[in-house]
């Protein structure tokens, strides 16, 4: 599904953050990336989604055989990349439902599917909202304006459900969530797992992985994947800290 090779990235005019990252995620798998603050986790998610402000100095990213780095952010979205943000953005004056429909239809049309009319979309949206327990009231409100932390994250998973991506990156989706919100979000993620969809779950903590069991766990440190293992690696990190990985290396 996604093939990252020797990826070097620096901030525009700044320091190098990713220093030769290799990562390969087959279709249908869930990979978790863990790592200390400043290790390059969010940079990786932004670079994959095509955000401005980063410069790729070496390496390649292939998504289903296509050169992902040559594509604009919206083209990546059309191709099937989704990024759930750590801090979802507010758009005042634009209702969540209108925003979602605009996005869904932009993606559908780009994928050669007919745009959904208002009625068909509403039905689709209600179904997807149920999965993450978002009320119809929340759908009428302005995008993320006045949403609690948990509501914002559930709204991200709602978008994941509606946009039907093949590769979803979730950047610290668990941060700032209480236990109840965490389990709703996790249930939402699990509902969207399937053979045709891969996930990259970025997190600081083991606790999300208690709910969303990964196939593979990677440790990102100093801009590189320094260790890869099964779900048990996350437990070990939780118990022993990140320092243990480098000591052992």
């Amino acid at each position: 599904m996604i093939e990252i090779k020797n990826l070097h990235v620096r901030t525009e005019g700044g320091a190098e953050i990713l220093k030769g990252l290799d990562l390969s995620i087959p279709a249908g798998q869930v990979h978790a990336i863990m790592g200390p603050n400043g290790s390059g986790k969010s940079t990786l998610s932004y670079v994959l989604a095509g955000r401005d402000g980063y410069e790729v100095t070496a390496g390649s990213v292939l998504f289903k055989g296509q050169d992902l780095l040559a594509m604009a952010p919206e083209e990546r979205a059309h191709a099937g990349i989704f990024l759930g943000l750590q801090y979802p953005v507010e758009i005042p004056g634009v209702s969540n439902a209108y925003f979602l429909r605009t996005a869904v239809n932009a993606v559908r049309v780009a994928r050669g599917l007919p745009a959904l009319d208002a009625v068909a979309f509403m039905a689709e949206m209600r179904r997807a909202a149920k999965v993450v327990e978002l009320s119809t009231e929340m759908l009428k409100r302005d995008v993320n304006v006045g949403f609690s932390g948990g509501e914002k994250k559930r709204n991200e998973i709602l978008q994941l459900g509606l946009l039907d991506p093949e590769f979803a990156i979730l950047d610290e989706t668990d941060s700032g969530l209480d236990i109840d919100a965490l389990s709703v979000v996790a249930r939402g993620i699990n509902a969207h797992r399937g053979p045709g969809r891969s996930f990259l779950v970025i997190t600081h903590y083991q606790r999300l992985l208690d709910h969303v069991r990964p196939d593979v766990v990677h440790v990102l440190q100093g801009g590189r994947i320094v260790k890869t293992g099964g779900p048990e690696l996350a437990l070990e990190l939780e118990a022993r800290g990140y320092g243990w990985v480098t000591e052992g290396a």
């Binding site: 989604a49 955000r51 919206e74 004056g93 634009v94 925003f99 932009a106 978008q159």
Partner: protein, 482 residues
């Protein structure tokens, strides 16, 4: 990041530019350039006006000669040579008596602008008066309106057919010496629209005037007068476009509204005069005086404007709230890009008791655009319990544009309540990226964010025009990012 496809796209839309910049090839019958008493007399004679109106024009002209062009607005432009302007330009030939006699070339022009004048093709439920350079070329649905007792005709026609009404109300809201541009207009105005809604009548259709400047180096000086008698209601909309020319052209209009007891006037503007090119060359100088008088108790005047065109906009649609419990509203979207400058806002003058006013202003600046909100809330001593709420929000796109706010408040009554809120924000990288990550193109993302920013104003527009205004905003925003 890879930027090439974006830049190419942005370039292509920048080149797309202004959609209404074509010129209509009609022979124009214009007076010689320049302004003098003779020109004023000639305009009046051409329109076969009564003596009192010529006299009114001449007084205005003499007042104007003694006045100085105002310099307080936050706009900059080279000195206007008032002797280089054609003050009267009209399509050649005898004036058409009905729509059937209108030059097909002119009908085609309005058709192309999306304002078909054949009633079969016309927008259902909207009557249109079409003004081309200095004259009205036709008014639709006149008969249907007449059945309801509504008068909707060109200003020139009103002078002949309803002289008493014109004489009673002309200059009653904007006196001929009110300001430099109003005085100039009073001297040389050539046409415009006239509306009279009789007592207790709800106007059965939306009324609309479409202004088109076509002739080169000509100015357009029109007057609109709307009178709403007791308990009546009318919704009126004006639209404006002009060809793409390298020279600046002057548009100095005057609009007067009078609302009697319990009457309501809703006046909406979608202004899309040629804004000049990417270097700031050409474009219309839009120096307009608009004022409404809430003369009667419980009357209401509501201004809504979407200003996307003109190289310079100088206008302050205002309300004089004389009747007790009368209401004034001002909803505004002003968008400036390239080198456009807008200095716009409103005056709310509270004279009657418990008068209320609301001001919602949304300024959007992109490119090198400069956007100024200038507003006055004036509470007179007798205005017990008057209330005002003002909200002025500015949105910046890019780093070379500017937004400025000058709210003036004078309060002569302790029982008044005045609230003012102002915000300035930028379209953030975060918002743009978020929308694009969800599949929206950069242009659609900006358009979505701006539409959200303008929502409170857009929802005030009549349904038929809200869609148009939305499209206009989207077109005007093309090429503002990248």
């Amino acid at each position: 990041m890879e930027k090439t496809p974006d830049n190419a796209f942005v370039e292509s839309v920048v080149r797309k530019g202004y959609e209404h910049g074509f010129v209509t090839n009609v022979e124009s019958d214009a007076f010689p350039q320049g302004i003098s008493e003779d020109v004023v007399r000639a305009i009046s004679a051409r329109k076969a006006e009564p003596e009192w109106l010529l006299d009114w024009r001449l007084k205005a002209f003499r007042t104007w000669q003694k006045m100085a062009e105002p310099a307080w607005a936050k706009v900059g432009y080279p000195t206007i040579d008032y002797d280089a302007i054609y003050y009267y330009a009209a399509p050649k030939g005898p004036a058409p008596k009905s729509l059937d006699e209108v030059d097909p070339e002119l009908l085609a022009t309005f058709e192309k602008l999306g304002v078909p004048l054949h009633e079969r093709a016309a927008l259902a439920g909207v009557a249109v008066d079409a003004v081309f350079d200095s004259v009205s070329v036709g008014t639709t649905f006149k008969d249907r309106l007449a059945e309801a007792g509504v008068i909707f005709c060109s200003f020139s026609e009103a002078v002949h057919n309803h002289p008493d009404l014109v004489r009673k109300y002309l200059g009653s809201v904007v006196p001929r010496g009110d300001n430099y541009f109003a005085a100039l207009n009073s001297a040389v105005f050539s046409d415009g629209s006239f509306v009279f809604i009789p007592e207790g009548t709800r106007c059965p259709m939306e009324l609309s005037t479409y202004f088109r400047i076509n002739a080169k180096n000509s100015g357009q000086f029109e007057r609109t007068l709307i009178i709403a008698e007791r308990g009546s209601h009318v919704s009126y909309l004006e639209g404006c476009t002009a060809p793409q020319r390298d020279e600046n052209q002057l548009h100095a209009a005057v609009v007067e509204l009078v609302a009697h007891e319990d009457a309501e006037i809703k006046y909406s503007t979608v202004q899309n005069w040629y804004p000049g090119d990417e270097q700031g060359k050409g474009g219309i100088y839009n120096f307009v005086t608009k004022r409404g008088k809430c003369a009667g108790a419980r009357s209401k005047i509501s201004w809504t404007q979407v200003e996307t065109g003109s190289s310079i906009t100088w206008k302050y649609p205002s309300c004089v709230l004389i009747g007790d419990d009368s209401v004034g509203e001002f909803y505004s979207i002003a968008l400036t890009r390239n080198y456009q400058q807008a200095d716009t806002g409103t005056k709310m003058v509270h004279i009657g008791k418990r008068t209320r006013s609301t001001i919602i202003s949304k300024g959007i600046s992109a490119g090198h655009g400069q956007n100024t909100y200038r507003g006055l809330v004036e509470i007179h001593a007798g205005a017990d319990g008057a209330r005002n709420y003002s909200e002025c929000d500015s949105l910046l796109i890019g780093s070379q544009c500017g937004a400025h706010t000058f709210p003036y408040i004078t309060c002569g009554n302790d029982s008044a309540q005045i609230e003012h809120e102002a915000t300035t924000s930028k379209i953030s990288e975060d918002q743009l990226f978020y929308c694009r990550q969800r599949g929206l193109s950069e242009e659609d993302a900006v358009s979505l964010i701006v539409t959200g920013f303008c929502k409170e104003v857009l929802r005030e527009l009549p349904m038929e025009f809200a869609v148009e205004a939305n499209k206009l905003l989207a077109v005007s925003l093309e090429g503002t990012v990248g």
